[in-house]
């Protein structure tokens, strides 16, 4: 078997807050193949960005391992990390804070090339011009500053900056959440075209399931720092196994005027706090199927099929015997 592009094992990250220890990522395992899009979905504060930043080596985890193309990233010295950085890039959510306000568009896109020692100004300029053209920025944009652009245009600049180094993996942290629907479609199409052309793998973070459905080959649902279900696209949409996945899919508002909110079942109840120790299943306060065992014991991830895992006591019986 070939080495996966990204392999995450037992990742944990906590933050010390004045109310106690906050567990942002709690024992996450994930494997991402070359050229694949793995979507990471879940509600606000569940730890998606934290996980994304660990993969991009922006923050260090407390425990666990991140192997990128066979190389362990956790604990690597900044000098050893630098050549690998070229291959893992990131696209950010906020098109207004993700670009240096004091740099021109050309400078922003050229910067990665300078950092990685690409010689020759003309050569760099050519690469920048090509990239700008590729992401749909007009050539006359090069000498302007970020504040002169709309959100969608800025996101194109951010994409150009991330892709100019020809990375293998791009962590996309809610890349279209701040954009209007008409512009969102433009950016999503661009991202999937570029993926095909350049053979990119995406770790695609989004809280919007319709975007996930469009983009993802595999889906991971995160809840309070843990993955509660991971599945290939077909299995996820046709037969989601975790009650939380099922609830999220049901909750997704879709533009069908015959499916009214008043007729839909909705999740009631509040989320437990991510601070301090927790017992049992984290979802039980909102789970319509919760029973005694959910209070006493936290479910572990059960393997249900190829790349399909769910962490719920109710799937235990259906789990494949060889729990890897």
């Amino acid at each position: 078997m070939t080495e996966p592009l990204l392999s995450i094992r037992g990742l944990r990250k906590t933050y010390a807050t004045d109310k106690g220890l906050l567990t942002a990522v709690d024992g996450v395992d994930l494997t991402l193949a070359r050229g694949e899009t793995y979507a990471l979905a879940g509600e606000s504060g569940c730890g998606k960005s934290t996980l994304g930043k660990i993969v991009a080596a922006l923050i260090a985890p407390d425990e666990g391992s991140v192997r990128f193309d066979g190389q362990e990233l956790v604990g690597l010295s900044p000098a050893r990390l630098r050549p690998l950085r070229r291959r893992v890039q990131m696209i950010f959510q906020d098109p207004f804070s993700s670009l240096n306000p004091r740099a021109t568009v050309r400078r922003i896109i050229e910067e990665p090339l300078i950092v990685h020692g690409m010689r020759g100004r003309t050569e760099r300029r050519r690469a920048v011009a090509e990239m700008m053209d590729r992401v749909g920025l007009r050539a006359d944009a090069a000498d302007r500053y970020p504040h002169e652009f709309s959100g969608g245009q800025r996101q194109r600049i951010g994409i150009a900056r991330a892709l100019i180094l020809k990375p293998d993996l791009v962590v996309c942290d809610e890349p279209v959440s701040a954009l209007d629907v008409s512009v969102r479609a433009q950016i999503l199409n661009l991202l999937s075209d570029l993926q095909k052309e350049l053979g990119l793998a995406y770790l695609f973070i989004s809280h919007d399931l319709s975007v996930v459905q469009y983009m993802a080959d595999k889906v991971a649902i995160m809840h309070l720092g843990q993955l509660v279900e991971t599945a290939p696209r077909a299995a996820f949409w046709d037969a989601p196994r975790h009650p939380y996945s099922q609830a999220l899919i049901r909750a997704r508002p879709n533009p069908d005027p015959r499916r009214r909110l008043q007729d839909k079942p909705i999740l009631e109840g509040e989320l437990p706090s991510p601070i301090g120790k927790r017992q049992g299943c984290d979802f039980r306060s909102r789970c319509p199927l919760a029973f005694d065992r959910c209070t006493a014991e936290a479910p572990r991830l059960h393997t249900l099929g190829p790349a399909h895992r769910a962490a719920c006591h109710l799937v235990e019986g259906a789990a494949a015997p060889s729990d890897a």
Binding site: E43, S44, S150, G151, G152, D180, V181, S182, V183, R184, A185, Q186, L188, N189, S192, H207, L209, S210, V211, Q213, Y214, R233, A247, L248, A251, R252, P253, N254, P255, D256, P257, R258, R259, R260, L261, Q262, K264, I266, L267, E268, E270, L271, R286
Partner: protein, 322 residues
């Protein structure tokens, strides 16, 4: 029966050297008792400014130049300030997108709601606390006695929005204007809040003007929909007809570019380009530069709004009816 809210021919412009910088450009809309009307449009189309005009809350940079706004039959535009203060809260109230910045961080939830009741003479110092708890129960705030004593920062986003709704409902308005009330919330919480609003509508008979850019939410809750583009309503109609058979190419485009619109492998439909900015609205139909059906006529002549069946739209080349 007179509508709760009726806007006609509203225009508002950015103050400044450019006399044509209209952010609202000839907008007419009616909301009837007990009705949920959704005002949909992309960022910058003028939804919030429309809502602000209704309560005369426009920022100093924006000036109402033309048009009529009637709340429960009363003319808001000409209303004197004292009367206006009465109207805000009792006839119409508004909830905002960001529940954190619209609650006072230095006051307990109880104080803020009580303040609202006291200013409008809906309660006395003695009766206010009890009424506050009633209101918090009405919006299904869990553990209202404890929450009443807390400050906004110790509440989650969903609970804060509930507190905002309780405050908005304190004086039993006839219409609630909700400006993207759930955009900052997770889907599951969003549904709780929207369901609450619908239940309250049934219970209290108030109308809701729901401002949103999310057609999914519109499909779930609205009775009638008005689609706004660059300061104008380009299409309006009952939710089922409008979403299932949109007549205006912009409405159709908005629906088509949603990820739900494609099969498992297809590409997303794009609306090319960007909405125009106030001051650079194109001649003729303002959507023409981005419109797939545009002809030479569209770039010259502004289409009038016309009604066919239950839908009204402003387009020279409408799509086929269902």
């Amino acid at each position: 029966m007179t509508p709760v809210l009726s806007i006609s021919g509203l225009r508002a412009r950015l103050r400044g050297p450019d006399p044509s910088a209209f952010v609202i450009d000839g907008l007419s809309l009616q909301v009837n008792r007990g009705e949920v009307v959704a005002l949909v449009g992309e960022s910058g189309s003028g939804k919030t400014m429309t809502a602000y005009s209704v309560l005369r809350l426009l920022p100093p940079a924006i000036q109402l130049t033309e048009g009529e706004i009637r709340l429960g039959g009363q003319d808001v535009v000409a209303m004197e300030t004292r009367r206006l203060r009465d109207v805000r809260g009792t006839l119409a109230s508004i909830i905002f997108q960001e529940p954190m910045t619209s609650l006072n961080p230095l006051m307990t939830i109880e104080r803020q709601i009580a303040e609202m009741l006291l200013t409008h003479g809906k309660a006395t110092r003695q009766t206010a606390p009890e009424r506050v708890i009633e209101l918090l129960e009405l919006v299904r705030m869990p553990d209202p006695q404890t929450r009443a004593k807390q400050y906004p920062h110790s509440l989650s986003g969903g609970l804060r929005q509930r507190a905002m709704i309780a405050m908005a409902l304190a004086c039993e308005p006839q219409i609630l204007i909700a400006d993207e009330p759930t955009t900052a919330l997770d889907v599951t919480i969003q549904q709780q809040v929207m369901k609450l609003l619908l239940d309250l509508r049934d219970q209290l008979g108030m109308a809701i003007l729901l401002i949103t850019h999310d057609l999914g939410v519109v499909a779930e809750v609205a009775d009638r929909v008005a689609v706004m583009y660059a300061g104008r309503i380009v299409e309006e109609g009952p939710v089922v007809e409008l979403l299932e058979a949109p007549r205006h190419p912009y409405t159709a485009g908005l629906l088509a570019c949603l990820p739900e619109g494609v099969g498992d492998t297809g590409r997303l439909i794009e609306i090319p380009g960007l909405p125009p900015k106030p001051g650079s609205i194109p001649e003729g139909c303002r959507f023409a530069p981005r419109c797939p059906s545009a002809t030479e006529l569209c770039t010259r002549v502004t289409p009038e709004t016309r009604t066919e069946g239950v839908q009204a739209f402003a387009c020279h080349h409408p799509r086929m009816p269902a």
